[in-house]
């Protein structure tokens, strides 16, 4: 790869990373905490390419020693592939398609979080807003404190067989490669369109038994469609 072409590619990679970090687009792919690292990495790359091109031009004016103008790795062309993907495909945040590839079963928590605060809310009070991630685990593994209570969950719709559907959120640890789907079976209402973001309110229901484990469930009383949140992950 020619040196000035390499500089151009690096500038584009840097600019793409800066653009991701300054808009909220980066939240589709990584955790919010990555913003400053992305910004720094993008600016460093742009600075590197600009300084390199400037220094190279200045050197050429003096004497072309023939060193260092050739032989930049051809593998660098591959860096255009993610640029192409970002510019053309514009990959969305993980949604129902990714969730359908995983099991809706709630894994047993390593350390069951104490949810004794639920005891302070007397039953029959206003519905408690919970993260789908928490509900999907507690509804299975902390049944006693969840029974007979109303909850509010916000997530997207993942349809399954026979009209079953799940209120879903994807949990990230580092980036989308480790995205884990947390799914709550919504009973009693027809499924909204796939990937539609909804807020559902309803009462705890007995989990569905499957061969590979139990799936959290909610008897849905009301569905409101909502816009997708800035950070779609939990």
């Amino acid at each position: 790869m020619r040196r000035n072409v390499a500089g151009l590619v690096v500038v584009f990679v840097g600019a793409a990373v800066v653009q991701l970090a300054t808009s909220n687009t980066y939240l589709r792919y990584v955790k919010p905490g990555m913003r400053w690292m992305l910004l720094a990495a993008g600016l460093i790359l742009i600075a590197l390419a600009v300084v390199d091109v400037l220094a190279d031009t200045r050197k050429k004016e003096h004497a072309d020693d023939g060193h260092g103008h050739h032989g930049l790795p051809r593998a660098a062309w591959l860096l255009l592939v993610p640029i192409f993907a970002l510019l053309v495909v514009d990959p969305p945040a993980l949604g129902a398609d990714a969730a359908q590839r995983q099991s809706p079963v709630a894994a047993k928590p390593a350390d069951p979080k104490s949810n004794s605060w639920l005891a302070n809310n007397s039953r029959g009070d206003a519905p408690v807003a919970l993260a789908v991630r928490d509900y999907s685990v507690w509804a299975v593994w902390e049944k006693e404190s969840m029974k007979g209570r109303a909850f509010t969950l916000t997530g997207f719709v993942t349809p399954a067989k026979n009209g079953t559907w799940y209120v879903t959120r994807i949990g990230l640890t580092c980036c989308v490669a480790d995205g884990t789907a947390f799914m709550v079976e919504a009973r009693g209402q027809a499924a909204p369109p796939k990937n539609q973001w909804v807020t559902v309110t309803g009462e705890w229901a007995e989990p569905t038994r499957r061969a590979d484990g139990d799936v959290a469930a909610l008897t849905v009383e009301s569905i409101t469609t909502v816009p997708a949140p800035a950070n779609p992950y939990e």
């Binding site: 020619r2 040196r3 000035n4 072409v5 390499a6 151009l8 590619v9 690096v10 990679v13 990373v17 589709r28 792919y29 990584v30 990555m34 690292m37 992305l38 990495a41 460093i44 790359l45 590197l48 300084v51 390199d52 220094a55 023939g66 260092g68 050739h70 032989g71 930049l72 790795p73 051809r74 593998a75 660098a76 062309w77 591959l78 860096l79 592939v81 993610p82 192409f84 993907a85 510019l87 053309v88 495909v89 990959p91 993980l94 949604g95 398609d97 590839r101 995983q102 099991s103 894994a107 390593a110 350390d111 640890t173 580092c174 980036c175 989308v176 490669a177 480790d178 884990t180 590979d212």
Partner: protein, 341 residues
């Protein structure tokens, strides 16, 4: 791209008159690339409207971009450090810092992996720079393997993922350290002077300013490692989308099988070492030993790393090194799991 490590890079053998033509050729390539990129930015979505609508492809693209975006800051950190090592630290420093005997330099290099707080993408260029600066390859390999596995960030995230089980953190540190030393010594015993390790080229031209060396090395390393990172990210995204997680449930019961399967899963998923503990913790149907194997294998051998190592040390090195690392990591996990967990 260079299969034969002894042959000079083809660009050096070009006839001198090719150089005179460079300005014309290079400005054509430059203009074409610029037009292509700007054109894609402006009209790409309209030209390809309706091409990438399949949900599976879009999920793949999200995974692919996600792995790449996550890795780029660490890669930049890695090439920054490696370029600084190449440009500003004289080889005599490493000669003094490491024991003279390679067999002793290996454990010292393993232990010093603690200081590089990044994931595996950063350690490949840094260890290449270490070899470049005259560090014995066996010690650089030990550093390459230990740095992403035992640094404080990774151990802290492991402690958070396994609350109340400090033995898991201890087991991970001990096993990873052991694996990196064993492979360093193994290389010392079998690979010394072998032709299958392509030594990273020393681009330190005498008489060039230190800053020039720094920016040249950094640009070169970023382009090189970045290209191979893209291959690794594509492989990881493909496997993430194609491999159904449900087949894991059938193997959880058998200790040996589950250790090997989780080891393979770590290779295929290529999760960065700072996050793999959380994924391991979520695989609740598996024994602690199998989870340990997942956390020990992941930072030392995965599809993304294999691609990076192929690019940096040559395909013949990667073809020997990756399987050896995998086997040693699995055996060490079984041993430590039986002992500590």
């Amino acid at each position: 791209m260079t299969a034969n490590p002894t042959a000079p890079p083809p660009v050096d053998s070009e006839p001198p008159d090719a150089e005179k033509k460079e300005p014309a050729g290079s400005s054509i390539a430059f203009t074409a690339t610029l037009v292509l990129l700007v054109g894609l930015a402006l009209f790409g979505r309209r030209i390809f409207a309706g091409w990438f609508t399949d949900e599976g492809i879009r999920t793949w693209a999200t995974m692919f971009v996600g792995v790449t975006v996550q890795a780029i800051p660490f890669l930049v950190l890695g090439v920054l450090l490696s370029a600084a090592l190449t440009a500003f630290i004289p080889p005599s420093f490493f000669a003094r810092a490491l024991p003279k005997r390679p067999a002793l330099a290996v454990p010292v290099a393993s232990a010093s992996g603690v200081v590089l707080p990044g994931c595996e993408c950063a350690s490949v260029p840094v260890s290449a720079a270490l070899m470049n600066r005259g560090v014995t390859p066996a010690a650089a390999i030990a550093f390459l393997l230990s740095a992403p596995a035992i640094n404080p960030v990774v151990l802290a995230s492991t402690a958070v993922a396994f609350p109340g089980q400090p033995k898991v953190v201890a087991a991970r540190a001990v096993t990873s350290l052991g694996v990196s030393m064993i492979l360093g010594w193994l290389f010392l015993a079998t690979g010394r002077g072998a032709s299958w390790l392509r030594m990273p080229k020393n681009r330190h031209a005498e008489g060039t300013g230190k800053f020039d060396v720094f920016r040249s090395a950094m640009l070169h390393d970023f382009l090189h490692a970045g290209g191979f990172l893209v291959i690794g990210a594509a492989a990881a995204a493909t496997l993430n989308v194609v491999v159904p997680r449900s087949w894991l449930d059938h193997v959880a019961g058998n200790l040996l099988l589950s250790v090997v399967i989780l080891g393979l899963l770590a290779v295929l998923l290529a999760i960065c070492s700072e996050a793999d503990a959380f994924v391991a913790a979520s695989l609740t149907q598996f024994s602690l030993t199998a989870k340990l194997a997942f956390m020990v294998v992941g930072p030392v051998v995965d599809v993304k790393l294999i691609a990076l190592q192929t690019g940096t040390f040559g395909p013949r090195f990667a073809a020997r090194f990756a399987p050896a690392t995998f086997v040693v990591a699995i055996l060490a996990s079984l041993l430590v799991g039986w002992w500590l967990l």
